[in-house]
């Protein structure tokens, strides 16, 4: 029994690297404590603590990074955790996403009369798990973090428990999620088993560690267990990303879930999945290039086409966002495939995710404002004359959808541009063709929506039935500032994408 070894292992547990995560967990706990202490007394306090607490965290992180952004990668926790500049960006991304989800939830929960503290707490805990997930470089941590995220989402999707839709969506997500977890787990097991197998050449000691696994796979790229393990792991991640054919759950779940949760799923969860996929294909599976490229390319093409085509006849906006999200997953997959040969494509993907976050939250923000009593029933038709009833929201919606559609001068365009350039450098012409078709198709439904919201303006001066809705919602100043800020950032990032330079120089 060699205790020294354990001592050395223990020494690598540098908790200081995980301060933001710890902060968030603490914040969640504080919220729960507050809930107990000031029960029903000062609800505003909880909202403020939740949101401002996270904003403070974001601010602190930004401040820290302004002093000097980490370069190079840091490995800690005996190889379980690896921090790279990209993961740092993703951590910021998740915190930002968490803030925005909390913000959206404030409005939503108030309207739906649902408890808030728990929601904020779960959101933060999921965020912590996602932050850990993108940094994990070993399958145990990876799995635990992933499952934390997944289980958290089960709860969030079914959060609106008086709504059968929400519960049904939760159940569907649960069954399919558990299935995908099982599949993923089996894949991990196979990889673990085969990579650590002493009978095989190049076997490694810690066969669940990404780096070790990479060296093993490089030595045994055709081992059938490696291949099936890879397939199963990728299938599990594809479920998170929403790539064909593991995308099928998305519309139902997105529709049933409370809108802030839909946003959370659509943005942060997807981002986590995509980033994990990036880590995997560039790390352990890098040697499987010859089969991953065709596989992921096919999946990307199918994803783009399926998402866009299916969204075409869709009138429910939550399903529409889900399906268009599938399409975006497809574009992101293009970036992932490209990243196997072009290094900077990682940052192209990250940048795309950032623009996607800004645009999506803008749109979801408007959706939350527009949602009626039945959260799952939001049709495109409800947006008729929004431009007249609330020009500001219509503007935010237009900017958001325009950015999602990839129209200059909005951020989404730059995102797509970077992905395209990367794909070109990687020589993925087929994927580019599919992306083009996808973008063109997507114009139809994005513009259909914009058209509904904006185009009828000033056409019917006389009071139409829609007119009555005008007074039903008022948008508070904070909401205006936030949504306006998102739109402004979307435009700003499109016109002066200096963020790209920052990312590329990492």
């Amino acid at each position: 029994m060699n205790l020294e070894v354990f001592k050395q292992i223990s020494d690598t547990n540098r908790w200081g690297l995980l301060l933001p995560e710890i902060y968030l967990v603490g914040l969640a706990l504080i919220l729960l404590v507050f809930e107990m202490l000031f029960r029903r007394q000062d609800l505003l306090l909880i909202v403020r603590v939740a949101i401002w607490g996270q904003v403070l965290l974001l601010g602190l992180m930004v401040l820290q990074y302004l002093e000097g952004f980490p370069t190079g990668s840091v490995t800690a926790f005996s190889g379980l955790l690896t921090q790279t500049p990209a993961t740092e960006v993703m951590r910021l991304f998740f915190v930002a996403g968490s803030i925005l989800v909390s913000f959206l939830a404030t409005t939503y929960l108030r309207r739906q009369n649902l408890p808030r503290t728990e929601f904020f707490a779960i959101t933060m805990l999921i965020t912590v798990a996602m932050m850990v997930l993108v940094q994990s470089s070993q399958f145990v941590l990876f799995f635990v973090a992933l499952e934390t995220v997944t289980i958290g989402f089960y709860v969030l999707v079914a959060y609106c428990r008086q709504s059968p839709f929400s519960l049904e969506a939760g159940l569907k997500f649960l069954i399919l999620g558990a299935l995908s977890s099982a599949i993923l787990l089996f894949g991990i097991v196979f990889l673990y088993g085969v990579a650590g197998n002493p009978a095989l050449p190049g076997h490694v000691a810690d066969s669940m560690n990404f780096a070790d696994l990479a060296s093993f796979i490089a030595a045994n790229p055709t081992n059938p267990l490696v291949l099936i393990g890879t397939c199963l792991v990728l299938a599990g991640v594809a479920f998170k990303v929403g790539a064909v054919p593991f995308q099928i759950w998305i519309p139902d779940v997105y529709q049933g879930a409370p809108t802030p949760v839909t946003a959370f799923l659509a943005v942060s969860s997807k981002a986590a999945g995509v980033f994990v996929l990036l880590t995997l294909v560039r790390g352990p599976f890098a040697s499987l290039h010859s089969f991953l490229v065709p596989l992921l390319s096919t999946v990307a093409v199918l994803t783009i086409l399926f998402g866009n085509l299916t969204a075409l006849p869709q009138r429910n906006v939550k399903r529409l966002m889900g399906l268009s999200g599938i399409a975006h997953a497809g574009y992101l997959l293009v970036g992932v495939v490209a990243s196997m040969t072009v290094d900077w494509a990682v940052y192209a993907v990250v940048f795309y995710l950032i623009t996607y976050l800004l645009a999506s939250f803008g749109v979801f923000g408007v959706m939350i404002q527009m949602a009626g009593d039945d959260d799952s029933d939001q049709e495109v038709d409800h947006y008729e004359d929004l431009g007249q009833r609330h020009p500001f929201l219509a503007g935010v919606l237009t900017v958001g959808l325009g950015s999602l559609a990839g129209i200059p001068p909005l951020g989404g365009f730059i995102g797509k541009l970077l992905i395209f350039i990367a794909a070109f450098q990687a020589g993925l012409y087929g994927l580019l063709a599919a992306s083009i078709i996808g973008v063109v198709i997507s114009i139809y439904y994005y513009f259909g929506w914009i058209r509904e919201a904006v185009f009828r303006v000033w056409r019917s001066p006389e009071g139409s039935p829609a007119q009555e809705g005008a007074s039903t919602f008022t948008v508070s100043t904070v909401e205006i500032v936030t949504l306006g800020g998102l739109s402004a950032l979307t435009i700003g990032i499109g016109i002066f994408p200096s963020l790209v330079d920052c990312l590329m120089r990492l």
Partner: protein
């Protein structure tokens, strides 16, 4: 004949298949859920077998986490099922398809 890794894996594979089969066949959400647990267990079995044959502890340690995760998953899952049953008075998947298209 000595115990080969393949025999364990075969049992594990069978269990996984049976679990999948159950998910596909059964209409009762609870049974589906149980089938999913069966699949997780199949993975655990394979993991332990690999761990033993690889001679590394990591597999066995991983099982701890898997069991924890499974437990948490079941807790949440059962809560959802119960809540849904209260709304719909049914746990049959056919009745749980109001979200579609």
């Amino acid at each position: 004949m000595t115990l080969s890794l393949n025999s364990f894996l075969f049992v594990s594979g069978l269990l996984f298949a049976i679990g999948f089969f159950g998910v596909l066949l059964r209409r009762n959400v609870l049974v589906i859920f149980m089938s999913l647990e069966m699949m997780l267990n199949a993975a655990i079995l394979a993991l332990i077998a690999f761990s033993r044959f690889n001679g590394t502890m990591d597999g066995n340690l991983f099982v701890f986490f898997i069991i924890t995760v499974a437990a948490a998953e079941i807790a949440v899952g059962l809560a959802i099922i119960v809540a849904l049953f209260r709304k719909r008075q049914s746990v049959m998947v056919e009745q749980l398809s109001s979200l579609k298209n």
